[in-house]
Amino acid sequence: MNPKFRRLFITIIIILTLGLATKLILMALEDNIVYFYTPNDLIVKFGDTQNIQNKIRIGGLVLESSIKKEDEKTIFIITDKKKEVKVVFDGPLPDLFREGQGVVAEGIFKNSNFIASEVLAKHDENYMPPEVADALKKNNIWKDGSD
């Protein structure tokens, strides 16, 4: 084999091997890479929220008309359209926080309530002017931002 092709061959083998190794590492670390769980993921993974002792993050949509204010606290429900989690939070909410919005909350479970220490807003991949959004909503072709 001429040296050029040998070097090319070695380079390709190195890339493939490293790619495979990286894939395996990422698969093994999946739990640490996932930034949040959806409420349904939690049930699939842990069975019951009682089993979760550590700080975790849950993500989903804020359920329509579920936002309540109690003193300083904001109480709302995160849903993934399969399961729901009740979240209690006292702290500053991001501007994008509203009903139907994607959010990620970090905190711990206490008696099946999720006590959040931080709430972040998540936005989807759709970008459009407000007029277009209104028109879509009016014509009932608005698709909800659940992924």
Binding site: K4, R7, L8, T11, I14, I15, L18, G19, T22, L26, E30, I33, V34, Y35, F36, Y37, T38, G59, P92, L93, P94, D95, L96, F97, V104, E118, V119, L120, A121, K122, H123, D124, E125, N126, Y127, M128, P129, P130, E131, V132, A133, D134, D147
Partner: protein, 246 residues
Amino acid sequence: MFDWLANPNRFNRITEKIQPYILLIAIITLISGLYFSLFDSPKDYQQGDAVRIMYVHVPSAWLASFLYFSLAISCVFYLVWKHPLADLVSSSMAPIGALFSALTLVTGSLWGKPMWGTWWVWDARLTSMLVLFFFYLGYILLSNAFERKIDGSKTASVLAIVGLINLPIVKFSVDWWHTLHQPASIIKIGGPSIDDKMLLPLILMIFALSFFSLYMIILNVKTKLIEKKCEALLLKSNLEEMSKIG
């Protein structure tokens, strides 16, 4: 074919002709792109005016990834075919790519604070982008870390090729795992999910930054070629000097 491309004289002759046009396209697209992104594009229905950060953030991120890909491919040419010009090309791309990945991180942070409510989170997209930035820095540091330039070039090239693994992770992190960062809007199944009036400035800015990068890379390579020539001339005159004395 690569030999044909890799001839420094031919490179100089060809780029001499096309360089002014590249600069012209870069300036025109940059001015029109900035005009559309800042003044003549709609607010987003959710994000308001903050969406305008996208017109710098997204092109920077694309350029950072694309330049890294080109850099690593150029390193393959250097290691396999041993073309010295390939090394000059990759080392000319590195600072520009590093700049764009830094710009991506900074603008992303500025965008994240008002929209998400945080400057930074360790989700898969943000972290892999930071890793890309570190690969650029590693490449630059390593290629200058050896006494003999050629050792540095070779070691840094190997590092650059290893870093290639990170690129699909940057691109697909938002699909593979739950991340705070939203998924792709432009290159995705089913076509872009972004309004045409917003797509226009975005595409103009991508062209602007691409042509700007191309121009800077050519300029960098030329400078490095002149540097090499100077070194060779200096060496030659020193040798002549010595032979006279000797």
